[in-house]
């Protein structure tokens, strides 16, 4: 073929290649420099969210590291973070899921060894700002009312929003979000009840 063409092709390849090489190194170095910080941030994020649902007084370990993977009722993998004090499992935390008005909602649920809610926090959701987003701790303390409750308290038929005859307030004009949240927590507690032995087992 035309030699000029080959040369042109090579030139272009070389130019782009050199730039890629250069920026590859540049980015590699950046990554190296930030790797630890980013890992630390990720750990902090986890700890933060766990810290909100498992009081620090309950453990002397790092629950983020002390985790195990189990299958929930639907066969999905879930990661269980365990709080231990003096080797005893004092509480566990895991992600629970619910469906709200605008789709999927993710919470972190903390449960103590007796099956009482230690705390719940919304991790991610797409609920409408100003309406459904009151499940966030930032927007209101609605989510705090679950602390201390368990499957028997209130009784199963009261684990509903008021509109459905249960005991939990819905927000004005937005029933779907609280309903989804309450259901998700109830399912979370049922999971605990079903797997209590395994969850609290000490290795």
């Amino acid at each position: 073929m035309n030699p000029l063409m080959k040369q042109g092709t090579l030139t272009h390849a070389a130019i782009l290649g050199v730039f890629c090489l250069g920026f590859g190194i540049f980015l590699g170095l950046t990554e190296l420099a930030t790797r630890d910080a980013i890992a630390a941030r990720a750990m902090e994020d986890r700890q933060n969210s766990l810290g909100q649902v498992i009081p620090a007084s309950l453990h002397d370990n790092n629950p983020v590291i002390d985790n195990l993977t189990m299958q929930d009722a639907e066969g999905q993998n879930i990661t269980i973070y365990r709080a231990r004090k003096a080797g005893q499992v004092t509480g566990v935390a895991y992600e629970i899921h619910g469906s709200g008005y605008a789709g999927h909602m993710k919470f972190m649920l903390g449960v103590d060894a007796e099956g009482r809610v230690l705390g719940v926090r919304a991790l991610s959701h797409k609920e409408t700002p100003g309406l459904g987003d009151k499940i966030e701790i930032k927007k209101g303390d609605w989510i705090l009312q679950f602390a201390g409750l368990s499957l028997g308290n209130p009784p199963a038929e009261k684990w509903k929003v008021k509109k459905d005859g249960g005991q939990f307030d819905q927000f004005t004009g937005a029933t779907i979000t609280p309903r989804g949240t309450v259901t998700a927590i109830r399912h979370g507690l049922e999971f605990f009840a079903a797997n209590q032995a395994q969850l609290l087992e000490v290795h």
């Binding site: 309406l131 459905d164 004005t172 004009g173 937005a174 779907i176 309903r179």
Partner: protein, 367 residues
């Protein structure tokens, strides 16, 4: 003109139709339903009605003045009044005054005058306002109340009414769900549609229960424009008689909604409401006869109007059935408004002597 060059070509005969007459005929057609509903919901609804129309007219006047166009002449075409009227008919009757004012701001400057005024807008101003309000204030905009007819024992007095409209103090225990809203919320917690329909009719879990007779006459919660389907229908037929609107849009909207409803209801009555229910509830009639038919934002050709009507019916059903909102008419109208230019382009009549593609017709068999 006698003498000199003529400045205006023919024709030198014109029909007596005018824009003004058209608009006021529509208003006339809306009046029976409006009066009945103002009676049904009493003073607060009358206040809101007045505030909404007044705000629309004032907004229009301000915009015209700013644009340097003749204010009184253009105002007198009646379109701003009609927009305000229709908007007021879609609001919860006891909504606070600022809902009407804000609605006017959405409807007139934003949805109409920014486009150049009457005839230029791409979206139905009243529906833009309604949807913007619904999205922005879902709580206020879904607070329906049970009927409190004027002069009846339950009707709020004048002072209370002023407090309701201008103070936003709606007393407890007067709100009531509309049938569409009730069915939708119940469905979201797993109650089958047929059951909640029966419950709605019987009034289980409800503060207010309309009986069948009430449903038919319009003695039920809802907006001014949705309670009395019969009076709206009469108004719509009057418009058809006066040749302001044609059958194409209303019939296709109602027909599609009915067909979709019936079909899916047969497939799964627990999940899907019956066709007749879709047709008689919500803003179906108002939408089919008065809103989807808005000239400005619907296709001009009859074929286009058929497509438009089918689209409105279909989307209304889809939104009512699957989406988050109990009522989909307003969204459906806006969505189809957005398709109107394209529908218009593809449904132009065939030119005389030409094929659909615009080529001259072939000569058949003649030399």
């Amino acid at each position: 003109m006698i003498g000199g060059e003529a400045t205006k070509s023919g024709p030198f005969a014109h029909s007596t139709n005018t824009v003004q007459q058209t608009m006021f005929t529509v208003i006339l057609a809306l009046s029976p339903a409006t009066l009945f509903n103002l009676y049904l919901f009493g003073w607060p609804s009358i206040f809101l009605f007045g505030v909404t129309i007044g705000a629309c007219v004032i907004a229009e006047a301000i915009c015209l003045a700013l644009a340097g166009r003749p204010v009184t002449h253009t105002l007198s075409d009646g379109s701003a009044i009609l927009t305000g009227w229709l908007l007021a008919m879609t609001l919860p009757p006891w909504a606070p005054w600022w809902i009407g004012v804000l609605g006017a701001v959405f409807a007139i400057p934003l949805a109409k005058q920014a486009f150049g005024g009457l005839g230029q807008n791409l979206f139905n101003p009243a529906m833009v306002a309604r949807v913007a309000l619904l999205v922005s204030f879902p709580v206020v905009m879904t607070a329906w109340i049970a009927p409190h007819p004027l002069f009846s024992a339950s009707a709020p007095g004048l002072a209370d009414s002023i407090a309701i409209t201008f103070g936003g103090q709606v007393p407890d225990g007067v709100t009531a769900a509309t049938a569409l809203g009730y069915v939708k919320t119940e469905l979201s917690r797993g109650i089958p549609v047929f059951q909640s329909l029966v419950e709605y009719g019987r009034g289980t879990n409800l503060t207010y229960t309309p009986d069948l007779m009430d449903l038919a006459t319009g003695y039920k919660p809802g907006s001014l424009g949705e309670t009395s389907a019969i009076l709206i229908l009469i108004g719509g037929l009057f418009l058809m008689r006066r040749r302001i609107i044609t059958w194409h849009i209303p019939v296709t909207v109602l027909g599609t909604l009915f067909l979709m409803g019936t079909l899916f209801n047969l497939l799964d009555p627990a999940r899907f409401a019956p066709g007749l229910f879709h047709v008689i509830s919500g803003a179906t009639f108002l939408g089919a006869f008065f809103i989807a038919t808005d000239y400005v934002t619907s296709p001009v050709s009859e074929k286009g109007q058929l497509i438009f009507g089918i689209g409105v019916g279909l989307l209304t059903w889809v939104i009512r059935t699957f989406a988050g909102y109990p009522e989909g008419m307003a969204f459906a109208v806006l969505l189809m408004n957005s398709l109107t230019p394209i529908i218009d382009q593809y449904t132009r009549p065939r030119l005389f002597g030409r094929t659909r593609k615009g080529e001259p017709l072939p000569l058949k068999g003649k030399a």
